[in-house]
Amino acid sequence: MIEIKDLHKSYQMGSNSLHVLKGINFSVKEGELVSIMGSSGSGKSTFLNILGMLDEADKGAYFLDNIPIKDLNEKIAARYRNKFLGFIFQSFNLITYKNAIDNVAMPLYYQGIKRRERTEKALHYLEKVGLADWATHLPNELSGGQKQRVAIARALASEPKVLLADEPTGALDTKTSYEVMELIQGINDEGKTILIVTHEEDIAHMTKRIVNLKDGVIIDDTIVEQVRATANV
């Protein structure tokens, strides 16, 4: 599903250049649930941004579902993001003046899908995350966990190939975190490929594979025994 070869990225900070990613080789097969760990400054966010086509690598190859991702202009990047990727953010990033169902329908809007079909699909995914009853509520009427579940529904709505989650539980308490992870595990069980950036060990162990980044290189990549989130609740 994802093929990365010798990925380099550096940032220009004034006069000195900061080499953030120093040759990453990485691949993910379909249906994997991978967590990317690392201390701050390890380059994990940059890595996720490149995976998410929000940023471009200086060097190296990136294939997503055998499609080479390079030399993207903003228009094509937007289309690829919409088609291939679902984003889940730490701070949910729901649009405050839109209710839950409209938030979920947003990626579909940018796909040019008709309103009725959009609403139908959005409702389906809200049901999937257990929030069908909250469809017409605004984000500020929802709890943190509910917001993140709406965000997950939104990420799923465009039926992407890969879900990218940047610290999805970072803003949630432990109990809610586990609930969210349970949902993510469930989605993965259905075959969706999911990448999670986290710095929490317990969250990482709920995935099937942990990749450790340090100073811009992968220092460790192990398949782990998945801990089911339900067991912890």
């Binding site: 998410g52 929000l54 228009k75 937007a78 919409n82 003046y97 990626p107």
Partner: protein
């Protein structure tokens, strides 16, 4: 552009901060109101002054004879001369662009000695020997009876059409006017009509003290032979009288044996030129109206631009999220542009309506208070309204341009990082 979902998006965005939207809209509302009102007031002034000009056919000139100033063909300078009826005929033949030529002779004058009597009453009035065309050059309301016609001319009928002040001076109230006789310098004329000239210039009073009689009867009664003292000449609308007047002078000069360079011999007043001056003045006033109005509108537009910049800044993160979810830069740009366009046009339309309401009130008050000097019927034409709308649309687009560009300048990744 006409995507329903896009509009819903926009309305949602505008609705999310009603107070700010309202205040922003006020700038443009005010600007367009001022613009339309200024143009309406200019128009009112123009209408008022044009009315003062009288409704004399504007493509006209008046011409009269004076003394020659250059000796010519053995004739001395300082010679008096008169136009002849044959000159009128010749002008008509040689210059087909002339619509009307009314020769006229005049007797007495405004504020002159008493020259008209009726029974025991006397008065001093201006007596004009005129042709029937004259009423087409200087429209007047015939309040009773009729104006002169060609039968009067051909039959040398001694008939008269008299102004309202003549009626007041010579007749008692409720006296029968039509068919009665007045004596002009000892010659009896039968009154066949009375007239009133609305919207006179300063000479309203002079007009009201006028008596029109057939040119031929006048010449016969007062021994003018075929002499003509004065002419009112009107050209067809597609030719300016100012352009053909040299031709007229040339013909007259050769007819009357006047030196070709003797410009002082023939006096004239070019109404078309004067009118063009006034029209030009109002043209400039209109431009000033547009200019000032547009400047006021501009500050409103800058207000919108400013607010949209703030909106874009505030929504940086939202824009980042949208782009992460697949919005192309064009999507974002179009949305910001449409937001500012909608805001501008809506507030502009309200402004135009409000201005129309104010204009209506002005007209209503004017109607109540009666005519005001130099000001009448302030109004704007549909063209002006459409122009104003075009200005609005353009300025709406301009207002949105910078914010829209700003909105997509930031990379989505940076936008998402903003807290």
């Amino acid at each position: 552009m006409f995507n329903r979902d896009r509009w819903i998006e926009i309305l949602e965005a505008l609705n999310s901060n009603k107070m700010r939207t309202l205040l922003t809209a006020f700038g443009v509302f005010w600007g367009i109101t001022i613009l339309v009102l200024l143009l309406a007031l200019t128009n009112g002034l123009k209408n008022g002054v044009s009315a003062d000009f009288g409704n004399f056919a504007t493509n006209s000139m008046f011409m009269w004879s004076r003394r020659t100033s250059i000796p010519y063909k053995g004739l001395p300078k300082g010679r008096r001369f008169d136009f002849k009826l044959e000159d009128v005929q010749l002008l008509k033949e040689k210059i087909p662009a002339l619509k009307y030529i009314s020769p006229r002779n005049q007797l007495g004058g405004y504020n002159g000695a008493n020259n008209v009597t009726r029974k025991a009453k006397t008065g001093a009035f201006s007596i004009y020997g005129d042709y029937p065309e004259f009423i087409k050059q200087k429209p007047m309301d015939i309040t009773e009876g009729r104006y002169l016609n060609y039968s009067d001319i051909h039959d040398n009928r001694k008939v008269a059409v008299i102004g309202i002040d003549v009626v007041k001076g010579l007749f008692d109230k409720n006296e029968k006017i039509i068919g009665s006789y007045i004596k002009v310098n000892g010659v009896n004329f039968m009154v066949i009509g009375t007239f009133r000239i609305s919207n006179g210039k300063g000479d309203r009073e002079e007009d009201a003290n006028s008596i029109f009689v057939p040119f031929t009867a006048f010449s016969q009664a007062f021994n003018r032979a075929d002499n003509v003292g004065w002419m009112a000449i009107t050209a067809y609308d597609d030719v300016s009288i100012t352009k053909i007047k040299p031709q007229i002078f040339d013909i007259i000069k050769s007819q009357r044996k006047i030196h070709p360079k003797d410009d002082r011999a023939v006096g004239h007043f070019d109404l078309a030129k004067q009118f063009a001056k006034i029209t030009g003045l109002f043209g400039i006033l209109t431009v000033v109206g547009y200019f000032v109005g547009s400047l006021v509108l501009l500050s409103g537009v800058i207000g919108i631009s400013n607010i949209m910049l703030i909106v874009v800044k505030e929504r940086t993160k939202e824009i980042g999220v949208r782009r992460a979810l697949g919005a192309s830069p064009l999507n974002i740009k179009a949305q910001i542009l449409q937001e500012s366009l909608l805001l501008t046009i809506l507030s502009g339309l309200v402004g135009v309506s409000f201005a129309a309401f104010v204009i209506w009130i002005m007209n209503y008050v004017l109607d109540l208070s009666g005519p005001v000097e130099n000001f009448a019927n302030p109004s704007v034409s549909m063209t002006t309204v459409i122009t104003a709308l075009v200005i609005l649309i353009v300025s709406g687009l301009l207002a949105g341009l910078i914010p829209a560009t700003r909105a997509v300048q930031m990379k989505p990744i940076d936008a998402l990082r903003i807290e």
